[in-house]
């Protein structure tokens, strides 16, 4: 627990950051912590991406050439876990840290010391998780969904560390989200009502709510595993009256809201960027807020669409099918809103806008394949094939990841005070755009043709598209090193940015100088609400 401390002896409280490495370890500044989260997330993205490249290299051709099946499974598992919990979620928390206080005119997060605690748990948790790869018996090999009993009775010993790593991530996320919710509810500048907040803040408010609701459930399910493994309980063992499918229900009660946790902040980012570069206000602010809330509500009641093949009773099957299909409606509202915002705007296509537009198109493709998956009888053919892999990479890579890239390009001048290199940025965009589609589009085909996921080797008829997909993966992967280069170059040598940075940008964060001073909005009267929304 912590607080905003009045430093009575300090007249000029606009003191800068401390010096040296310890600045980052001890900091309570939301901007520093945001930066930490973002760099950490990028490191995890490279690590998880490297695992993905191992997968794609093995799948380049049929036959086993690089890795053993046992190790392949560890790669798949760690790739999924690291990308979801290490790359996407911390990146959004990083954005929230940087942006939420600046957007609502707050001096910092509500509980700054706890904020630092939330971050610093993560490096420990992921070090512990990654180190399992070197343990006897290998790392987790049961998929990122870790279905029992493969993850209990049949698991390697390292599963214990995996469980505790998940506990740590959960603690970190819950504390982080409490911080976000409290900041938004309690620290808005005088006069800013909820319905005046930028959409990014709204989406994060709802995301944080989802996190507080479902991370404890994830903690619960891993605790049940721990008990089954070490204390002889029978949660997931029919011999004692339990059921492996119980695991899946509890897991997906967490897991489905989790996928919206990874997309709602992305919606917020895109809703900020498109109006800026279309130079036109967002078409339907209120309906965006209601749509986001509906998606969040629905996300709690659709979880078993991941379990259509486990043999649920017909009534359950139908219910989960209908409920899942409904999500298309509020999501459609969002897509249509973005299109209507672009319509008759005055558009320019800087890198953030390119990523945002690609987001809308490619996310919609992923969403539509999601809709196909929600049709239960058809899902009998899709489930656990590469069609599912294609679906979720379309919503996650050109979805979440592209939105994060868009956000970084968009706010980088505000963070660093320097412009990034536009030519390089566009190059990065086009390489990524082509790479992503070459990687994941063919996976729809091999999935429909019948290739199961999580296999290290495959039948010959899937060979061609797998090869294409692998080539795309390497193209996309190595393009991200260019991104790293662009960011570093921007920090070191970019030309100075103005306060508003983008011609069409509106919002409080654009009223303060670039780079944003170490402390902003320390006095409520520094906030000029007229600029709050555009």
């Amino acid at each position: 627990m912590s607080a905003i401390i009045e430093e009575h002896h300090h007249d000029d409280h606009h003191h800068g950051p401390a010096k040296g490495l310890m600045r980052w370890v001890f900091t309570t500044n939301h901007k520093d912590i945001g930066t930490l989260y973002l760099w950490f997330s990028f490191a995890m993205f490279l690590l998880g991406g490297t695992f993905a490249l191992v997968i794609r290299a093995e799948l380049f051709q049929p036959g086993l050439q690089l890795v053993e099946p046992a190790f392949f499974n560890q790669m798949t598992t760690m790739h999924g876990l690291i990308m979801v919990f290490g790359a996407v979620m911390p990146a959004f928390v990083g954005l929230a840290n940087w942006l939420v206080p600046m957007m609502i005119g707050a001096p910092d997060m509500a509980l700054p010391r706890m904020n630092n605690y939330s971050f610093w748990i993560l490096p420990f948790a992921f070090t512990m998780l990654a180190s399992t790869l070197f343990m006897e018996g290998g790392g987790p090999n049961f998929g990122w969904t870790f279905y029992a009993p493969l993850s209990t009775d049949f698991a390697p010993p390292s599963v214990t560390y995996f469980i505790f790593a998940v506990h740590l991530m959960g603690i970190s996320s819950i504390m982080g989200s409490i911080n976000v919710v409290v900041t938004i509810l309690n620290l808005r500048a005088p006069g800013m009502t909820l319905m005046q907040m930028p959409l990014f803040v709204w989406t994060w408010l709802i995301t944080a709510y989802l996190l507080i609701a479902v991370m404890p459930v994830l903690a619960g399910v891993v605790t049940m595993m721990l008990m089954d493994i070490h204390f002889g309980t029978a949660f997931f063992n029919a011999g004692g009256g339990g059921d492996p499918v119980l695991f899946q229900h509890v897991f997906w009660f967490f897991g489905h809201p989790e996928v919206y946790i990874m997309i709602l902040p992305a919606f917020g980012v895109v809703s900020a960027i498109i109006p800026t570069f279309a130079r036109k206000r967002l078409f339907g602010y209120a309906s965006m807020v209601y749509a986001t809330s509906s998606i969040a509500f629905l996300s709690f009641i659709v979880w078993a669409h991941h379990m259509f093949t486990v043999g649920m009773p017909l009534a359950g099957e139908l219910y989960f099918m209908y409920a899942t299909m409904l999500i298309a409606v509020p999501t459609g509202v969002k897509v249509f809103n973005w299109v209507a915002t672009m319509w008759q705007g005055s558009m320019t296509f800087e890198t953030p806008m390119l990523f945002a537009i690609a987001f809308v198109i490619l996310f919609t493709i992923g969403g539509l394949s999601g809709l196909m998956l929600s049709i239960a009888p058809a899902d009998f053919q899709y489930q656990d094939t590469y069609f599912v892999v294609a679906h979720f990479h379309y919503v996650l890579v050109p979805g979440s990841i592209f939105s994060i890239m868009a956000a970084v390009y968009y706010w980088l001048p505000k963070w660093t005070g320097n412009m990034y290199d536009e030519t390089l940025g566009k190059t990065h965009f086009w390489l990524s755009f082509v790479g992503v589609n070459v990687t994941f589009f063919p996976q729809h085909f091999i999935g429909l043709a019948g290739m199961p996921r999580r296999i290290p080797d495959y039948a010959l008829q899937f060979a061609d598209y797998n090869m294409v997909s692998s080539v795309g993966a390497f193209l996309f992967g190595f393009s991200q090193l260019l991104f790293l280069f662009i960011v570093i170059k921007c920090i070191k040598t970019g030309k100075k940015a103005t306060a508003q940075v983008w011609e069409g940008a509106h919002g409080l964060e654009w009223t303060i100088p670039s780079p944003a001073p170490y402390h902003t909005f320390s006095h409520p009267d520094e906030v000029d609400l007229k600029e709050a929304h555009g």
């Binding site: 912590s2 607080a3 409280h13 010391r113 404890p216 011999g239 119980l246």
Partner: protein, 301 residues
């Protein structure tokens, strides 16, 4: 709401060494625990894990102690505005909400096994000749004392009844909810004797509850054959009541700290967040118990 508040000027916090030590502490705690559990399972005799666990726990406890002391100190130095105090209030409420969801997962598991899994295992809805079922002799009834596979999960002799200790415990906790409210009244009236007296009684009731629970567990193990490994009935019984017990322990500890603080005169009617937080937590723990009493004890036996 932020809008109708009066705004003092905002100030920013300084750096803090506390979080990194807390991170290190919690990491060592779980790492040591993991190591210990794995060695136990593998039958290896090594004390490495338990040492790491101990050190981690100490680091964490010490850090949290300093952390809370610091917060209290800052509060006494009048550093907190009303707005900042509201952050704590919100923070605690959302934390309790997360706890509700944590218990929700276990209650959900209980309902699912009770209403679906156990009947299925007993053959309900199965259109298969019974000798092709895994457990032809198993009868799916609740409370489930005989397990499908008695070689691995021996089952219990008898389920836990709701009268006796559980009923006593219910009375203890319900009473304690009243006493903590009376303590609050005392606080509001500025009557420190009333506050301290009722609070001390609350702590006493909490401890009494825990003692009864230990006795109940002994009874379950020794006389009812009801254990963690007795199959899903034992599993859900001990996990739910056990987690609740852990929360009672934490709640009692919080109240105890508040008792000391009250004796030192820390609280005023308009400045008593620590006490209120502990009281809310206590009410939450109480409500969970009522759920347990209903679903585990009364409807479960």
């Amino acid at each position: 709401m932020a809008n109708d508040a009066t705004y003092e000027s905002y100030y920013v916090p300084t750096d803090s060494k506390l979080p990194i030590f807390a991170s290190l502490g919690i990491f060592l705690t779980v790492f040591g625990m993991g190591n210990m559990l794995n060695e136990m399972k593998a039958g290896v005799d090594s004390s490495f894990g338990s040492w790491v666990l101990l050190i981690g726990g100490l680091v964490l406890a010490a850090t949290l102690f300093v952390w809370f002391s610091k917060v209290i100190e800052e509060n006494h130095a009048k550093l907190y505005s009303d707005q900042m105090n509201r952050s704590y209030v919100w923070g605690m409420s959302w934390f309790i909400f997360s706890e509700v969801m944590f218990f929700g997962a276990f209650f959900g598991a209980l309902f699912y096994v009770r209403f679906f899994v156990v009947p299925w295992l007993g053959g309900e809805g199965n259109r298969v000749p019974s000798d092709y079922l895994f457990y032809p002799d198993f009868v799916g009834a609740w409370p489930m004392v005989d397990t499908p596979d008695p070689t691995r999960f021996p089952g219990a002799i008898e389920p836990m009844g709701w009268y006796g200790l559980p009923l006593v415990n219910t009375l203890l906790l319900v009473t304690s909810s009243f006493t903590v409210t009376l303590a609050h009244h005392g606080l509001n009236e500025g009557n420190r004797r009333k506050l301290v007296g009722w609070l001390a009684l609350t702590v006493g009731l909490g401890i009494a509850f825990l003692i009864c629970q230990v006795l109940e567990y002994q009874h379950a193990y020794a006389e009812l054959g009801l254990t963690l490994t007795a199959g899903i009935y034992g599993t859900t019984f001990f996990m739910l009541t056990g987690f609740h017990g852990a929360h009672v322990t934490l709640g009692t500890f919080m109240l105890l700290v508040m008792l000391f603080r009250a004796m030192k005169g820390h609280f005023k009617p308009d400045d008593c967040f620590g006490f209120e937080a502990a009281a809310w937590y206590w009410h939450f723990v109480d409500v969970v118990w009522l759920g347990l009493f209903l679903f585990i004890y009364i409807l479960g036996s």
